[in-house]
Symmetry: C2
Subunit: 146 residues, 2 copies
DNA sequence: CCTTTATAGTTAACATGTTTATTAAAATGA
DNA sequence: TCATTTTAATAAACATGTTAACTATAAAGG
């Protein structure tokens, strides 16, 4: 008898189930992004910036679910590659405001159709209702305090 | 109007929802593991090995949702730290068979109560029914082909 | 004011994620 | 049986994840 015979087996483990589900969803997205030398993280950042406009880095970190140290590095290369601009906030000099560039928006534009096709494929296979239910449950899970 | 005004906003993005939910679930697990110098990945590997016995690396990778190159590195340090043993399979010399050691099992044993408490806390807040529903939906999502 | 505390971001160090290439061994098939 | 293909694992290179320590600035409280 193993150590975790009193615990739930890994087959119904929530962390692993979340990881597996994410792999399934992200696989085609990564395929899409690989052709244009953009990582999954940079894609999320571009989407957040396109949606929210000029925001500080902490906001990006929160929205795109990235830690600040990672974000610092990623934005450095994105700025060097001309996908975003950064400037110090004049009122609060601790803050760095980040904005998407035309080149950054172009990346979103070019991949919009593929991105939509992926979403639609998932919805077609899962069904809109189940997908909504899943998103609701994930929201609820994310909101709890353990 | 932004580029993705025709797309779903990041707020109902499945990839980010999965990521956020995972962060919530893993935060207390990481707290638990940090005290004993074990990463989340090593914890998953120990659980899989305890559950399945001696298995080849590909099986671990599949069960613990890790890529083989990562696993190669992680097992190297786990073997050095005496948490697992590795041996070449005699029939198929390509395979490496991995087994948990007593020291590895001890790590599971020591953290069993905390691990259970975390699971119970999540279940208490979400409810068993919703949690099962969520696991079902995640299983279903993971099974689709995009 | 001035000290204390909190916040935004960066840096450093190490672990893992991810892709591509490579090696060795096993399976396939003419 | 031998060339071809597939599989298991590793290596290398670069990006990100994660924690701890640190800097600069702002906010709070006396």
């Amino acid at each position: 008898m193993n150590t975790q015979s009193h615990t739930k087996s890994t087959s119904r483990s929530l962390p692993i189930a979340l990881l597996r589900a994410r792999e399934t969803v992200m696989a085609p997205v990564r395929d899409m992004l690989q052709g244009i030398q953009i990582t999954e993280q940079k894609w999320r950042i571009l989407r957040v910036l396109d949606e929210l406009g000029e925001v500080e880095q902490s906001t990006i970190a929160n929205e795109a679910c990235l830690l600040l140290p990672s974000l610092t590095r990623i934005l450095r290369t994105m700025e060097a590659d001309g996908q975003v601009t950064r400037r110090q906030d004049s009122r609060d000099k601790r803050r760095t405001m980040v904005m998407i560039t035309d080149a950054g928006r172009e990346i979103l534009k070019v991949n919009l159709a593929t991105s939509l096709a992926i979403s639609n494929s998932i919805e077609a296979q899962m069904g809109r209702e189940k997908l909504d239910k899943l998103l609701d449950l994930l929201d609820e899970l994310q909101a709890i305090k353990v």
